[in-house]
Amino acid sequence: MAVTRRLRVDPVACDAFGHCAELAPELIALDEWGYPVIDERPIPPELIGLAEAAVRICPRRALFVEETATAGGPRRGRSTPVRVLGRR
């Protein structure tokens, strides 16, 4: 069972301070209003540490890493969230 990690943002909690994008431009861009546009593709292994640092730096605790288990077999491709990092 493979685990996929994605960076996500809670848009209600996010207040556009933009610290995240400054820290992790590889994963986060800002839109014209200063809100994060997140690369929601699976985080490449070498950027996991950076993603977790972005989660920690967010003053609104709006960012989180979602882990999904991708099961094999006939249901391949279906994702079941197993764990969420960075949420209260």
Binding site: R8, D10, P11, V12, A13, C14, D15, A16, D31, E32, W33, G34, Y35, V37, F64, E66, P81, V84, R87
Partner: protein, 430 residues
């Protein structure tokens, strides 16, 4: 609002015949008594779930989710649930739930009661937006009638959340019922079971409930006698715009779009149809011969949504109309998510410039960029609805757009709007 009786109309949901015949006595004369078991009957829930699943009924509030499947999820829960009848009707151009509630309130309550009895629910909350008093009064009156006749077996009450566009969205409604504001909430995962006071909560649209009231009586085979094989039953449409007989039509699903238009008295000069609602999509004339089924409409890039059909005359400007909708929708943001709060007014502004013929290709490029950027970034689907309708306008009215860019606005862009845009007070969320 009138209920019209010209083809292609099939009277099922509206069989009792208009608000003046909405009383309990007439309801029972037309439909007979509701077949609910006398006592607690363990087989009742699986029987009802099976009947609804076989009927192929899907949600009539916009989501279109299979109703039986949703009910089966609730039936598997241990705690006794709460039943919420979603009669919020936040779409300004929709009046079908209002007409249903004022014409056949008992059919709506029958469906809610069947579901509540089957699932052993602790109560039924009939949710009507604050600014729809006729709907609330009709349902409250019907509840009193049932109580007086000794027919109310589950505690049932009408509650009136704020009448904002997004207040009827399931998570917003449940949030309000749970004592919060009627704003959508962000969840890491979309929960499969919504909860009020910790209890699992089934939210079904009023028209969906009324269909359950029919299926509970006449069965799934009867239900499927009308409609399309992949979309059985009837649906209520609110037809408005460039038609001589606007109103609420109950049509078999699968009815062609052009038959609905001619049935409502449209002439041949229809440039496009807005389908679904203000977060819906425009349909061009090449789709007018398509059947109104979820699959056919999906192919056309649209959805039946809440059953809104607005006919746009060739003399009107679809770009200007859409810009007005986009501005109104921007004002209906719940103000929680940056991309929605800032993105929607910016999108509306770009489209207004394009419609006014005071712009250039760079504005069009910026608009397309903004549509891509805002999509999917709200806590709820509100921004995505705006993205959908604006994108469909850019494609359906592409020729108009080109001529606006070339030689300024068309006369239609100054014409009066054909769309209902209520001035809402931006009132409280609680």
């Amino acid at each position: 609002m009138t209920t019209l009786d010209s083809p292609p109309v099939t009277q099922r949901l509206l069989a009792t015949g208009g608000p003046e015949h909405a009383g309990l006595a007439n309801h029972l004369a037309v439909h007979g008594t509701l077949p609910v078991p006398e006592r607690r009957d363990r087989d009742f829930a699986p029987r009802l779930v099976a009947a609804i699943e076989q009927s192929g009924l899907t949600g009539r509030g916009g989501g279109g989710f299979p109703t039986g499947k949703k009910m089966a999820l609730l039936a598997a829960q241990r705690r006794r649930p709460v039943i919420a009848v979603n009669t919020m009707e936040g779409e300004p151009a929709s009046h079908k739930d209002e007409v249903l509630a004022t014409s056949s309130p008992h059919l709506v309550l029958d469906g809610a009661e069947l579901v509540a009895r089957a699932l052993g629910a602790v109560g039924i909350k009939v949710c009507v937006a604050h600014d729809r008093p006729a709907t609330a009064n009709a349902l409250a009156f019907a509840i009193d009638e049932r109580a007086a006749a000794g027919l109310l077996s589950v505690p049932t009450e009408v509650v009136t959340p704020p009448g904002r566009y997004v207040s009827g969205e399931e998570s917003a409604l449940v949030h309000w019922l749970d004592g919060g504001e009627s704003t959508p909430t962000f969840r890491v995962e979309k929960p499969t079971i919504l909860r009020v006071g910790g209890r699992p909560t089934l939210v079904d649209n009023a028209e969906t409930m009324a269909n359950i009231g029919l299926i509970g009586r006449y069965g799934p085979v009867w239900f499927r006698e009308v409609g399309a094989p992949d979309a059985p039953g009837t649906t209520l449409l609110t037809v408005s715009g460039a038609v001589s007989r606007p109103g609420i039509y109950e049509i078999p699903l699968g009815t062609r779009v052009d038959r609905v238009l001619t049935g409502a008295g449209a002439d041949s000069g229809i440039a496009a149809v807005l389908l679904g609602g203000y977060g819906g999509a425009w349909l061009g004339p090449q789709h007018f011969s398509s059947p109104l089924t979820p699959s056919a409409m999906a192919t056309a890039g649209a959805s039946i949504g809440a059953g809104v059909v607005v006919a746009l005359a060739t003399s009107s400007c679809g770009l200007a109309e859409t810009a007005r909708i986009a501005h109104w929708m921007a004002g209906e943001s719940a103000g929680q998510c940056g991309p929605c709060v800032f993105g929607l007014p910016a999108i509306a502004e770009d489209l207004t410039l394009l419609a006014a013929g005071r712009s250039s290709h760079s504005v069009l490029e910026r608009l397309c960029h903004r549509l891509d950027e805002v999509e999917g970034r709200g806590a709820c689907g509100h921004p995505d609805g705006v993205v959908r309708i604006v994108r469909s306008a850019l494609s359906v009215f592409a020729d108009d757009l080109a001529s606006h860019l070339r030689s300024g606005p068309c006369p239609g862009s100054r014409a009066h709007t054909v769309l209902a845009l209520p001035g809402r007070d931006g009132g409280p969320w609680r």
